[in-house]
């Protein structure tokens, strides 16, 4: 009887310990999630009132003049990100493919190591790098320089996701294709890449979401522009830089617009992330 009573005590003690631990993890989860909703809520509260059709289709107005919008910044962000994709995604895919095809070689290990380091480099440093090798030689700020900086951030993200996704493709599929007399390059493209496409697309979209929120690397590359410009060789406006400029300005009207810009940016990134989750059935694979 004494032993049985001891066991009951032990069980109760375990139950209490388990409950405490569960409560602690729930608390930690709440603390993590609450700021997200606070930020979202505050953004909507501050930004929604300044958000109207004019914000999307009008140009910025001079100081003192009410109204206006960020049409140039929205188009600029889209242009910068598309161009960054055009540069960064093929390089990332190619490097990821190399890491898989030449797995275990010295060069592959070096590339993987470099990609990992690049993912940890502060984005402002990438901006300085782009300033040194694109802005200075070209003699001025430009869309190209901004897109280059964003591409430098995207490429290692895409490289590592592509590698991980390609590695998930069973080795047997490669052999099955080769055994049909399909050449190596065609096997890689039409079987291996094709099978990993869903995962790779997820990685690319997450990389897009990441760079569309970048401000620092654009400050001294794309610089920003108060006027309409889509030229590759002129400075171009972007939502992030516009928000930054407006937010630190002393004019209440600009500050309101900064909130609206931040709200739009946040929803673009949120929509991309939700899109990824929809596409992959709720199991979006993070490259981080």
């Amino acid at each position: 009887m004494a032993i049985a009573a001891g066991e009951v005590m032990l069980q109760r003690y375990r139950r209490i310990k388990s409950d405490i631990m569960m409560a602690l993890t729930m608390l930690a989860t709440t603390i993590t999630i609450v700021p997200l909703f606070l930020i979202l809520g505050y953004l909507v509260y501050k930004g929604a009132s300044s958000l109207n059709l004019a914000f999307f289709i009008h140009m910025p107005t001079p100081v003192g003049e009410a109204g206006g919008g960020m049409a140039n910044a929205i188009v600029g962000t889209v242009e910068l990100v598309l161009l960054a994709c055009a540069i960064g995604v093929p390089i990332g895919l190619g490097a990821g493919l190399y890491l898989v095809e030449r797995r275990g070689t010295g060069l592959a290990n070096a590339i993987r190591f470099a990609a990992d380091i690049m993912m940890g480099v502060p984005s402002i440093v990438v901006g300085i790098f782009a300033f040194a090798i694109v802005v200075r030689p070209m003699g001025g700020f430009s869309t190209l320089a901004g897109a280059f900086a964003l591409a430098v951030i995207m490429a290692p993200l895409v490289t590592r996701t592509a590698e991980e996704m390609l590695l998930l493709v069973p080795h047997e599929l490669r052999e099955a294709s080769l055994a049909l007399g399909v050449p190596q390059w065609r096997t890689t493209l039409s079987v291996i890449m094709r099978t990993a496409l869903g995962g790779i697309a997820t990685g690319v979209i997450l990389a897009i979401a990441r760079v569309s929120g970048e401000t620092a690397p654009l400050l001294f590359t794309a610089f920003g522009n108060r006027f309409w410009s889509t030229s590759l060789t002129s400075p171009i406006s972007s939502l992030t830089v516009q928000v930054y400029t407006y937010a630190i300005s002393p004019f209440p009207d600009w500050q309101r617009q900064a909130w609206a810009g931040a709200l739009v940016l946040t929803f673009i990134v949120l929509a991309l992330e939700i899109g990824v989750r929809k596409v992959t059935g709720g199991s979006a694979h993070s490259p981080h």
């Binding site: 069973p170 055994a179 007399g181 496409l197």
Partner: protein, 253 residues
């Protein structure tokens, strides 16, 4: 009996490991040749040498001669891709391409090899291959469904159909039934006997009953050596070598 494949002094290696020792054997045309032996004896390596799939593994190489209709497929001028189009292969695990429908899987060899085919030609090849693989009746109404939605046995027959669609002359099968249940296995064996009329078949198997039932000739391998090779009946009833007898009577392996 004419030899479709004539293996002469074939050696195969994985890095420093010498996996096949001086194999000499003739594979007769339009017959089923079974290769048996314990795990790791080199039977898979041997069939993979016959369509130059062995060298796909990093660090693997082979030397010696494999004469296919008299032509050495290891000649430096021979393109391994062309060899594989004439000598098809089915693997242990069914490997339908997961992104493709049933019909696309069957036509994969044509499409990925850039062989232009009209719509009606393609349909004809798909139907012929699926009929040859005894799968047509089961899938004819769902050709556009994903290949991976089929059962394991159906998937394996789909892989047979896929291999047959490029019209090879030889079909190599590396333990094609080891992942299948007995009913699916019986289907594949029936299929082998039907295909024998048109194809030369080499099958690696762990299942000695399967070798005895389905094959015309049997090779017994042990630790990278070809121990004995002859008529299946003779190998199973009156083996010449002691090792063969020990293996088929279950004394080891």
């Amino acid at each position: 009996m004419s030899a479709k494949i004539n293996i002469r002094h074939l050696n195969a290696y994985f890095g420093a490991h010498h996996a096949l020792h001086d194999i000499n054997m003739e594979v007769p045309e339009r017959q089923i040749t079974a290769i048996i032996g314990p795990s790791g004896c080199g039977k898979s390596t041997l069939v993979r040498c016959l369509n130059r799939m062995h060298e796909v593994v990093p660090g693997a190489r082979a030397d010696g001669e494999v004469l296919f209709d008299g032509e050495n497929i290891y000649d430096s001028e021979v393109d391994p891709v062309r060899v594989r189009r004439r000598i098809g292969m089915v693997f242990q695990k069914p490997t339908p391409f997961p992104t493709m429908s049933i019909e696309d899987n069957v036509a994969a060899g044509l499409k990925l090899n850039g062989i232009a085919a009209s719509r009606s030609e393609r349909d004809r090849v798909i139907e012929r291959s699926l009929r040859q693989a005894a799968l047509w009746d089961e899938v004819k109404n769902q050709l556009n469904k994903p290949g991976i939605g089929l059962s394991g046995g159906q998937q394996q027959r789909l892989c047979v159909a896929r291999a047959l669609a490029v019209e090879p002359e030889v079909l190599l099968m590396d333990e094609p039934c080891s992942a299948l249940d007995p009913i699916s296995t019986a289907r594949i064996e029936e299929l082998l006997l039907e295909l024998k009329a048109n194809y030369t078949i080499v099958i690696v198997t762990h299942n000695m009953q399967q070798a005895a039932r389905a094959s015309d000739r049997t090779a017994f391998m042990y630790t990278g050596d070809l121990i004995e090779y002859g008529e299946t009946k003779q190998i199973f009833t009156n083996p010449a070598r002691r090792e063969t007898e020990d293996y088929i009577t279950g004394r080891f392996g």
